[in-house]
């Protein structure tokens, strides 16, 4: 891979991407967008990065997505809702203050649940455990009696199917 020459000016390569990265973060975590973008640049500046512009851009957004996954997980609302009797979407819908946001959340939950319901039980179980507990993939593999790679593969499979279902339902924020 073509790596950054130490003599290169990293700032010159960052500037053209700053607006794009900030917009990317704003669409996902509007209240923390600037902080997250700064964190990305910090990580990029301390790493050995590709020098070719397209590869550099891909690298920046790879770091950004990974940072977002970490942030999403830290902020998830584990156990914030109580047991429901067939009305989970309604419960989610009543948990926020923005009516549009509530409706979207209810729709997304319905898509995710429908998708999980169509998966093999072991695949859906890995996703549910990752979403609702702090179990590591090693823990999940041990509990399911499978290899670590199998547990990772199940998460991968579940995420791809849910991402596709969200795309089809018009709830995608995938592209930068």
């Amino acid at each position: 891979m073509d790596r950054l020459d130490p003599a290169d000016n990293l700032t010159e390569r960052i500037v053209p991407l700053q607006g794009e990265l900030l917009g990317f973060m704003r669409r996902r975590r509007p209240h923390e967008a600037e902080e997250l973008a700064q964190e990305v640049w910090l990580r990029v500046s301390s790493a050995t990065t590709p020098s070719e512009p397209r590869a550099f851009r891909a690298y920046v957004f790879t770091v950004a997505r990974r940072l977002l996954i970490d942030r999403h997980r830290r902020s998830r609302t584990i156990g914030s809702l109580v047991a429901l009797d067939g009305g989970r979407a309604a419960e989610v819908a009543s948990s926020g203050s923005d009516p549009h946001g509530q409706a979207v959340a209810a729709e997304v939950l319905a898509v995710v649940e429908r998708c999980l319901g169509s998966m093999k039980a072991d695949v859906a179980q890995v996703f549910r455990w990752r979403a609702t507990t702090d179990l590591s993939f090693k823990d999940i593999a041990a509990r399911q009696g499978c290899s670590l790679n199998t547990a990772l593969g199940r998460q991968h499979q579940a995420a791809r199917r849910i991402a596709r279902a969200l795309d089809e339902a018009g709830h995608s924020r995938r592209k930068p």
């Binding site: 990974r66 179980q125 609702t132 991968h156």
Partner: protein, 162 residues
């Protein structure tokens, strides 16, 4: 999807569970950025986390999603009776056979006194000698009896296995 890392290493890496040195992790970051399969996998993981994380509480209400309170691997299927349990079942069967034989010797089995010693001595200490776990299906009674007879033979040959 052809990259073998897309469904394994990249998933662990994306969730901060990469196993390796910092240099290896950095090398994998470069790999993901340049690999179409891994980039697509990362995109999907991030997109789903973004949508699902705020709803995790709703997903958590699923009882099936809660991990069982055990520390070791959970067996995928119901376990068969242990050797010890099956041996006790064998002893119980032997006791039943002895009872049947004794009953056949008397004219009126209904009033004939049961022989107390052979049965009570062996059966009483057992935790549940006869009753198999309720979740164990007995689909083939002949096969089960064959197995019990084999275990009885083994017991006769070497009673110390108890």
């Amino acid at each position: 999807m052809t990259c073998p890392h897309a469904s394994t290493t990249t998933v662990a890496w994306a969730f901060g569970e990469f196993e390796g040195s910092a240099n290896d992790e950095e090398a994998h970051t470069l790999h993901v950025a340049s690999c179409a399969d891994c980039s697509e996998a990362l995109e999907a993981l991030e997109a789903v986390e973004a949508e699902a994380a705020p709803l995790a509480g709703a997903l958590a209400v699923e009882e099936s999603a809660k991990p069982p309170p055990v520390e070791g691997p959970v067996p995928a299927t119901a376990a068969r009776p242990t050797l010890g349990g099956r041996l006790w079942a064998g002893i119980a069967l032997a006791a039943a056979l002895v009872l049947g034989t004794v009953a056949a010797w008397v004219d009126d089995p209904l009033v004939a006194p049961l022989p107390p010693e052979p049965v009570a001595v062996h059966v009483m200490p057992s935790p549940s000698p006869v009753a198999a776990p309720p979740h164990v299906p007995v689909l083939d009674l002949d096969r089960e009896l064959d197995e019990l007879e084999l275990e009885l033979d083994a017991l006769r040959t070497d009673p110390s296995i108890l």
